[in-house]
């Protein structure tokens, strides 16, 4: 996992950890926590959101070009790292936007420490168990054929599923590192914390739970249930988007997120 080569791009240092980070835009600060994969710096939603907010989007340790300390292997290492990040950033409060797996992190962080958070946005987030013991809520992306996974991830898989022949070597290495790291952190229990559900009531910041209407990795009904467990939170869906509305519908995504972040009180 620590075979990462020379650092690429900007870094964010927190104590002994150094993370690859994308910084974009100006305005109210937003810590963006990525999901299955690191954020592509060319993704259009970054510039769109950057017109209305300052985005800080690190790659979690082990993902992208961020190294992973050898003893760093649970979701709670990531959660505590981002608690450190929140304390280190030069802002009283930061809004937290968590995508997919990063939504699980964001929910855990908000449960642990609401006072550093301005507003919380969970997008197609993992993290809790809703259905009965024989009904998985979250698609097993590791034990399902890659074609099936892609079919579930996108509203329009033909347009968005990755074509490895078209990716550079570095992009494929990043893809592989993301996959390994996601598995390390999320394998068991698969992508959720059995205890998190009962503590979501501790989240005392304005919260938007946003979902791709066509998400087949984790469905909108799960999102609705998630939202119902967070006091005062709002649930909304984005049409013609799967698990990654920020990629498939960047304008609609940014409009919903920015409008929510700009609300008062």
């Amino acid at each position: 996992m620590n075979d990462i080569e020379a650092p690429v791009g900007e870094r964010l240092s927190v104590k002994d950890i150094e993370l690859e980070v994308i910084r974009r835009g100006r305005g109210r600060p937003v810590l963006l926590l990525h999901g299955l994969h690191t954020v592509d710096p060319r993704a259009p939603f970054l510039d769109l959101l950057g017109r209305r907010a300052e985005i800080i989007a690190p790659s979690h340790p082990g993902f992208g070009h961020s190294a992973r300390p050898m003893d760093f292997d649970t979701v709670y290492d990531l959660v505590r790292l981002y608690l450190d990040v929140l304390e280190a950033l030069p802002y009283e409060r930061v809004s937290l936007v968590g995508l997919s797996f990063g939504g699980w992190l964001a929910a855990e962080i908000a449960v642990a420490c609401s006072y550093r958070i301005d507003r919380l946005v969970l997008v197609d987030a993992f993290g809790i168990k809703i259905s009965d013991r024989e009904t998985p809520d979250i698609l097993d992306v590791f034990n399902t054929s890659p074609q099936e996974v892609e079919r579930h991830r996108w509203h329009d898989p033909g347009k968005w599923a990755p074509d490895f022949n078209a990716l550079s070597d570095d992009e494929i290495v990043v893809h592989a590192r993301n996959w390994d790291a996601l598995c390390l952190y999320g394998w068991h229990p698969y992508m959720y914390n059995p205890q998190l559900k009962r503590w979501l009531r501790r989240i005392r910041r304005p919260t938007l739970v946003l979902w791709g209407a066509s998400d087949g990795v984790v469905t909108p009904s799960y999102g609705r249930a998630y939202s119902a467990l967070i006091p005062g939170s709002r649930f909304d869906v984005i049409a013609e988007a799967g698990h990654h509305p920020e990629i498939e519908q960047p304008e609609a995504f940014v409009e919903r997120v920015a409008a929510f972040l700009e609300q008062e009180g």
Binding site: N165, D169, C183
Partner: protein, 415 residues
């Protein structure tokens, strides 16, 4: 040289059209295709073959695989328990309980110690790294597999040898506060330990630990590379040289009355390579942790998928390039080079030793010389649609005509 008989006890009787439609013949093939009455017959035959080996002086190997047509041995300790009592003379190698997939290695140590006692000290313990479809079948995180493998071996070894218990273990992957197995093993300090691996990095650690390194169907180049790593790691650690009895090679082996008969029936063993290895990409090149990220460009691109169609292919050029570039080839690249080969290719590469007693002996010794010698030959003597009668004939002929000649080869310390 010691010889070991290995029959994975495959279940080949799934209709071919079902296998063709399935994306994987392991892990995800529904068990409705496994008729327990047929399976019972196969167990009966396989145990009879092991007992024939006992009569003939050929040691036996019991393996473990999960949820696939390649093997019905999903619970190694159960098989071992039967063998420990029924096999009365030869040695028994467990290869092995898939150690990194079990939540508590202490249980495994106790099972091994029990089998060693029942057999009155005729147990060898083999550790297999696992991988691929085993991870799905056992809910085991593939990314930390190798870490669990070594920690589990450490814990099993201490549980087998520590006699002043209970002791406490608070490791990274296993915690057990009260370890005190009963019985302790018959053999002191513990039964011989084996490890099946072909990757030089793991072979180096196997070397430092002085375990028997068994290479399965790796051919000349892969075998030489692993054993060179084993020896070099020992030299670098200032450890004494080991004799050839620390090296084992597993190949498909069949002896017939004539060379032609041996090759014809022995070719049935290729079913293992050509049918039972079919695995879906999520258990192969896309399995997290299976491919070091720097290899990903070679194995992720569809154009570089191991070529399973072209007869005679030894894998695509990209796979070959990856092998040449980096010293540590992931298992997936080795598998890519094994599927869809015919008997002539398998024999040329030291994967299949088949023919008459004389030609099989020559093939074994040719390979022996090419790789610098080994003290154990594991003969995979039945697979696929080879019949029980054919397997027993092969065992009997091998034992009568080839085994005495191989027994003459004493362990040596290579210069």
């Amino acid at each position: 040289m010691e010889v070991w008989y290995h029959n994975e006890n495959p279940y080949p009787f799934v209709p071919q059209d079902v296998l063709d439609r399935a994306d994987s013949v392991r892990a995800s093939l529904p068990n409705k295709y496994c008729d327990p009455r047929v399976a019972a017959d196969l167990f009966e035959e396989t145990f009879d073959e092991f007992m024939l080996c006992d009569e003939c002086g050929i040691n036996v190997v019991a393996i473990e695989h999960h949820a696939g047509i390649n093997s019905l041995f999903g619970a190694n300790p159960l098989v071992l328990g039967i063998l420990a009592r029924q096999i009365r003379k030869v040695r028994i190698l467990s290869m092995g309980t898939l150690i990194s997939l079990r939540p508590d290695p202490v249980r495994v140590a106790e099972e091994y110690a029990t089998a060693d006692v029942i057999s009155r000290g005729r147990l060898d313990i083999g550790f297999v790294k696992s991988g691929a479809s085993e991870m799905a079948s056992n809910n085991a995180n593939p990314v930390t597999n190798i870490e669990r493998y070594w920690e589990a071996i450490d814990l099993v070894t201490k549980a087998l040898t520590f006699q002043e218990g209970p002791f406490s273990w608070e490791g990274k992957h296993y915690t057990h506060r009260h370890v005190n197995i009963w019985p302790r093993p018959w053999q002191q300090p513990h039964p011989p330990l084996w490890a099946a691996t072909g990757d030089p990095e793991t072979a180096s650690e196997v070397g430092r630990r002085g375990m028997v390194n068994v290479l399965v169907l790796r051919g000349e180049e892969g075998t030489r590379r692993a054993w060179a790593a084993y020896r070099q790691a020992r030299a670098e650690a200032g450890l004494p040289k080991v004799m050839t009895d620390h090296f084992a090679y597993a190949a498909l082996v069949y002896v017939g009355d004539t060379h032609e008969e041996g090759v014809e029936i022995g070719s049935k063993l290729l079913w293992f390579l050509n049918t039972s290895l079919k695995m879906a990409p999520q258990y192969a090149q896309f399995l997290p942790g299976a491919t070091p990220p720097h290899f990903a460009p070679q194995v992720y691109r569809p154009a570089s998928k191991p070529d399973t169609q072209a007869k005679g292919s030894t894998g695509s050029s990209r796979v070959q390039a990856a092998k040449a570039d980096k010293p540590v080839a992931p298992a997936i690249l080795n598998v890519g080079g094994l599927t869809n080969i015919d008997s002539a290719q398998a024999m040329a590469r030291g994967i299949l030793f088949a023919g008459s007693p004389d030609t099989v002996y020559q093939q074994v010794m040719d390979f022996y010389r090419k790789v610098g010698g080994f003290g154990h030959l594991v003969m995979i003597g039945r697979s696929g649609f080879m019949t029980h009668a054919e397997a027993e004939k092969g065992i009997t002929l091998f034992a009568r005509e080839v085994l005495p000649r191989l027994k003459e080869i004493a362990p040596v310390t290579p210069p």
